[in-house]
Amino acid sequence: MQEKIFEEINAARWREFDALLTAAEKNFSGVDLTLLPELLQRQSSDLALARHRMYGANMCEYLNDQVIRGYKLVQRENTGLWARVMSFFLKDFPRAMRKEWRLHVLGWLVCLVPALLIIFSSGPDNMEWVNSVLDEPSKMQMESMYGKDTESLKDGRGDGGDFMMFGFYIWNNISIDFQIFACGVLFGLGSLYFLFHNALFFGAIIAYISAYGAPEKLYGFVSSHAPPELWAMVISGMAGMKLGFCLLTPGRRSRPAALLHAGKTAVPLIMGAAAMTLLAAFIEGFWSANEFESLGGWRFKVWVGIAGWIAFFVYFMFCGREKNLET
């Protein structure tokens, strides 16, 4: 069939399709779309025919363009934002955590082993490891926050100060989470390095303050926000390692395909980690710097911290286990 004849026969339907597309792209819900799938199918077969018969490049590209536009409308996402957020926190995130339990264990090991080693190998007369991790300015800073003679924060930092630190924790801590995740794509090395490095640093601070400072000030300040913050750091590392390790052992997929597949599990993890760090920033900004003298001071905050660890453990273990027929 000649190109011209083909165009004459079909041009009316192409115009109809074009008009429908234009209308639907402007106002999706206000247009009757019952004809869309059928028209798209016919348009697709026209494109295939035009290509096969080698009609001119312009006709092929016109049809190509229309098929893409129609496909976009047919494949549109149509669930509400709120439903997706709820289903994410109640199902996707804890399920992804349970599915990747091996990486979860590995992440905690990479954090806990160096931190505990440095804590238990150091004492007031043996600070070699601590000295090699903390430089003088960081020691001074720790001293100024948790030293024996430091006035500890009583009723927050004043309204402005609390808000500023809240902003700082959002910027700094969530950025670190994203960095741990993204650098994991370098064969997992980035995530392992950042987790290991941060764990050594935390361990050294605890060891240093236990030896020379006032540990109850440190524990009082950090314990309430530690569960979401530390856990989120480990989860970011899990997500990063998920990406990186699939490049090392892609299995039966090609490496790009394996990366794509790993991304599907890694994404809920990093999104959950970011949400947890946001929660931690709220606690650290507006709660941790209060003293709660009447409730038992720093001991009260440590109990809150322990409750936090248990709550997150229960959430990851049991949330989203029920079977649902929709998915």
Binding site: V67, I68, W171, A182
Partner: protein, 273 residues
């Protein structure tokens, strides 16, 4: 007769097969326009960031008559910084044009690999992974040789702003078929040109008689001959001859005769279908 099998060839048109059974071609964009767009975006992001912070502060103090210290401004500054650094691209690529301002200037947009609109999740992933693609890079404060200046940017919190070379991203673009950086690979997205290219058409005079080619041709070669003849009028006589002589193995002709031979094949291909 074809020396290079189609699947391994480097081409700016990449085809994707869709559920409807037909292949669509997406014009993927290379590293250069994307790098230029990135450069522009860094500037836009900075300007927009400062404008936004100033607007917020103005509203807070002049419209809502807030009585408080500079610390609140510090908090606003840091939260805004976080949002801009990580979500500037997300916000615009999720928007209607699917492109940041820089990309729009260069006529680019971000789509899923099958040419459809990328989902929020895909755009989130490709932009978070900038933190890997921008390597080798360092935080801003390491670039300042002056120690006082470094202390200052650290104290204000902007010291952690990433400054990178996008070396890994470039490397990945150069070694993947669709010019995808690592973030694109994980998110299953590509950056494409927005404009459908309109080819100038100017066919040469069709010969009186069709002629069957001496050798069996594959479809792609037939398409090449067809589009050569469809567009041959655009070029000068010498250029036509030069191009036609590339097919000497097939036509076994020289000069003007080679062009005429190809035109006869083209006629044969058209008449056959």
């Amino acid at each position: 007769m074809l020396h290079n099998p189609p699947n391994n060839r480097i081409d700016t048109l990449q085809s994707v097969e869709m559920a409807e059974g037909v292949e669509v071609k997406t014009p993927v964009a290379g590293a250069f326009p994307r790098a230029m767009a990135l450069l522009l975006d860094s500037i836009f992001m900075m300007l927009l960031f400062f404008a936004f912070v100033m607007l917020l502060v103005f509203l807070l103090f002049n419209v809502f008559h807030f009585k408080g210290g500079g610390e609140v401004i510090g908090g606003i500054f840091l939260i805004t910084l976080f949002i801009f650094i990580w979500f500037y691209n997300f916000f615009f690529e999720r928007g209607k044009k699917a492109a940041t301002w820089g990309k729009r200037i260069y006529g680019l947009k971000v789509v899923s690999i099958d040419g459809t609109r990328a989902t929020g999740r895909q755009i989130f992933v490709r932009n978070i992974l900038r933190a890997a693609d921008y390597l080798p890079g360092v935080p801003l404060y390491l670039l300042l040789s002056n120690e006082d200046a470094a202390m200052l940017v650290m104290a204000t919190g902007v010291g952690m702003i990433p400054v990178g070379s996008y070396g890994i991203g470039l490397f990945s673009c150069l070694f993947t078929k669709r010019f995808q950086r690592v973030g694109d690979l994980v998110a299953n997205t590509v950056v494409i040109h927005t404009k459908t290219q309109v080819h100038a058409v100017s066919p040469i005079k069709a010969p009186d008689l069709p002629k069957m080619p001496r050798l069996q041709l594959i479809r792609e070669e037939e398409v090449a001959i067809r589009s050569f003849c469809e567009r041959a009028g655009i070029w000068s006589e010498e250029r036509r001859i030069e191009m036609a002589q590339h097919a000497e193995e097939l036509t076994q002709k020289q000069g003007v005769e080679a062009v005429e031979e190809l035109a006869a094949y083209s006629r044969w291909i058209v008449d056959r279908s």
